[in-house]
């Protein structure tokens, strides 16, 4: 195996180990915490199933009997782990539908939103960062700095509310809420994207300034290489080495950040699922959602590691990127 092949294998093995560890930890933790949560799970589940004001003692009792909630906790956990090993996530306690189906549905929603927002953040942020880096200290740079601070200072929900007021309530251009069609994706993405673009802009600017000032870029110039090839071959790639790990972090923040936006725009995603599962004590859905979130973070980090390894062949001590 070549050294780089070994490096890739190392990254994958390390991340896979992390994934397994995190999966175990998250499942057990969720389970334990849910079992320590105040309130009787049977009542919560019954409320989730039959409507918030139709739950009563008999309904709770029948739920308890049906789901075996009176068994010892370790037995329930054991069952879940056994099923998980067979890649069976079980059925939702509330809706009785297969968890994999439900969580898969929410995952798609989250990924759609996250992907569009990330692209938006990247284009906005990287564009602004590159523009700012052309003349450090110049007008564009200072404007970009102002932008970075502003978007950092505004919580996404506030931005979302303002966007809704302007684009939906006042102008009537875009739907305020909804899920599934492209139009309803615009406002949520516009809510998330700019917030993230701030950090991207900042990192891009610093990376591009640093790379442009580097001796290899200077040397590429004096070799007689045309400016655009210098930018494409040297600046972009080396700036990407710095930027990609941050994009990974961004993606992770994004995955977490969607919960607010999901709530505001009635978008169906993992955050939504998580909040409901906690509220209703739907342990399998909660565990599966947490598991998916955690694994998603591991996957993003793995992708970042592999990408950085591909971009930058230098050996390094691999630190987690976040």
């Amino acid at each position: 195996m070549t050294p780089r092949g070994a490096a890739y294998a190392g990254v994958l093995a390390r991340r896979a180990a992390q994934g397994v560890g995190v999966a175990g930890l998250v499942s057990v933790l969720c389970f334990l915490i849910v079992h320590r949560l105040p309130g009787d799970a049977a009542y919560r589940i019954a409320a989730g199933r039959y409507g918030y004001d139709l739950v009563d003692e008999e309904a709770a009792a029948s739920v308890r009997a049906e789901l075996g909630l009176d068994r010892p906790a370790w037995q329930q956990l054991g069952d879940w782990v056994l099923d998980l090993v067979q890649l069976d996530l079980g059925r939702s306690l509330v809706t009785s539908r297969p968890v994999a189906e439900e969580v898969g549905y929410y995952l798609v929603g989250t990924l759609q939103l996250a992907a569009v927002a990330l692209v938006l953040a990247f284009v906005l942020g990287a564009g602004m960062g590159v523009a700012a880096a052309r003349r450090p200290g110049g007008l564009v740079d200072r404007l970009a700095t102002g932008w970075v601070a502003s978007v950092r200072a505004v919580p996404p929900f506030l931005l979302g509310l303002m966007l809704v007021v302007v684009f939906s309530a006042q102008l009537g251009l875009l739907p305020a809420v909804g899920h599934g069609d492209a139009a309803s994706l615009v406002l949520p993405a516009l809510t998330l994207g700019p917030g993230l673009s701030g950090l991207v802009a900042r990192i891009t600017r610093d990376a591009v300034v640093e790379v442009r000032a580097s001796e290899y870029v200077q040397f590429a110039h004096t070799k007689g290489l045309a400016e655009r090839w210098v930018v494409l071959r040297h600046v972009v790639r080396n700036a990407a080495v710095v930027l990609v790990p941050y994009l990974g972090v961004q993606a992770v923040i994004l995955i977490e950040g969607v919960v607010v936006v999901e709530s505001l725009f009635a978008w169906q995603g993992l955050g939504h699922a998580l909040v409901h599962a906690v509220f209703w004590r739907d342990v399998p859905v909660l565990q599966a959602t947490a598991l998916v979130l955690a694994l998603l973070i591991v996957v993003v980090n793995t992708a970042v590691d592999v990408l950085v390894l591909w971009l930058d062949p230098r050996p390094r001590r691999l630190e987690a990127t976040r």
Partner: protein, 277 residues
């Protein structure tokens, strides 16, 4: 240009300092802090309702008007500011202490201590912060501030741990510390003269950012109605509650939004000036 070409000019200061921004930020924060400390002492009970006066417009006696329960927006704002500042400071202090101590321990001793702490932090990293906050605040239902505090602090300590561990690793591996070892100056010297002076500005920056993160996270949790219970005044909750009235009672929305924005911008300006100086 980082090359030695500029050795000759290295002594000429190039980076502009920004004392103005820093001073403005400090002034803004002091004003907000004064408002948060003095306001609740002087102003009316923030949960005292006067249902006959709901959505009353600003006046001389109520400069920010009244909300949909006829409560004084100014009084609520003062309490909300105090809550945001105090709780964020507490969360940041806790996360900072926990993360810094763990980070130094990890970098100093290495070996299994490092391995264990790193594994814990990696697990925390992969567990979404949201989940931690959600679960912890669900764990202590009843709107106890403890849950919010614990959740936010737990979600943040990893950041300090990672930065401090990495930085301490560099410092402890530096020739300066090696020299101190050869001079047998002892661990107290290393902490006082090497680690602490090096970490302090970094932690200052992180803490300023952490304040922003905490304040925003709290308001966001208020927005999704996790963690706090009525009639507690909290900035995010106030913004959310006032949103339906944005056209009939804009003062209700604008006041908490302005305070939230001012708080975060001041901390960010402080962070920026720290980074540059």
């Amino acid at each position: 240009m980082t090359t030695p070409l500029l050795e000759a000019t290295a002594t000429i200061p190039t980076g502009r300092r920004r004392p103005l921004a820093r001073r403005a930020a400090l002034l803004g924060l002091s004003l907000l802090a004064a408002f948060a400390i003095v306001g609740p002492l002087l102003l009316a009970d923030p949960s005292a309702q006067d249902l006959s006066r709901f959505l009353e417009a600003p006046s001389a006696s109520e400069p920010l008007g009244r909300d949909d329960y006829g409560r004084s927006v100014l009084a609520r704002l003062a309490h909300a500011t105090r809550l945001s500042l105090a709780l964020s400071a507490l969360c940041v202090a806790t996360a900072l202490l926990l993360g810094t101590v763990a980070g130094i321990l990890s970098a100093w001793f290495g070996g299994w201590i490092d391995a264990v702490l790193r594994a814990v932090s990696e697990a925390f990293v992969a567990v979404p912060a949201l989940l931690v906050v959600l679960l912890v605040s669900a764990l202590a239902s009843g709107g106890s501030l403890w849950a919010l505090y614990l959740g936010l602090a737990l979600a943040q300590w990893v950041e300090y741990f990672r930065v401090v561990r990495a930085r301490s690793g560099l410092v402890l591996g530096s020739p300066a510390v090696e020299a101190a070892g050869l001079l047998e100056l002892g661990p107290a010297h290393v902490v006082r003269r090497h680690l602490w002076p090096d970490l302090r500005p970094l932690l200052g920056t992180l803490a300023a950012l952490g304040m922003v993160t905490s304040i925003l996270a709290m308001s966001t949790l208020g927005f999704v109605k996790v963690g706090l219970q009525p009639p507690r005044a909290e900035l995010g909750l106030m913004i959310t509650e006032s949103f339906p009235f944005y056209d009939v009672a804009p003062w209700m929305s604008l006041a908490p939004i302005a305070v939230l924005f001012l708080l975060t911008v001041c901390f960010l300006a402080l962070r920026d000036s720290k980074e540059r100086s």
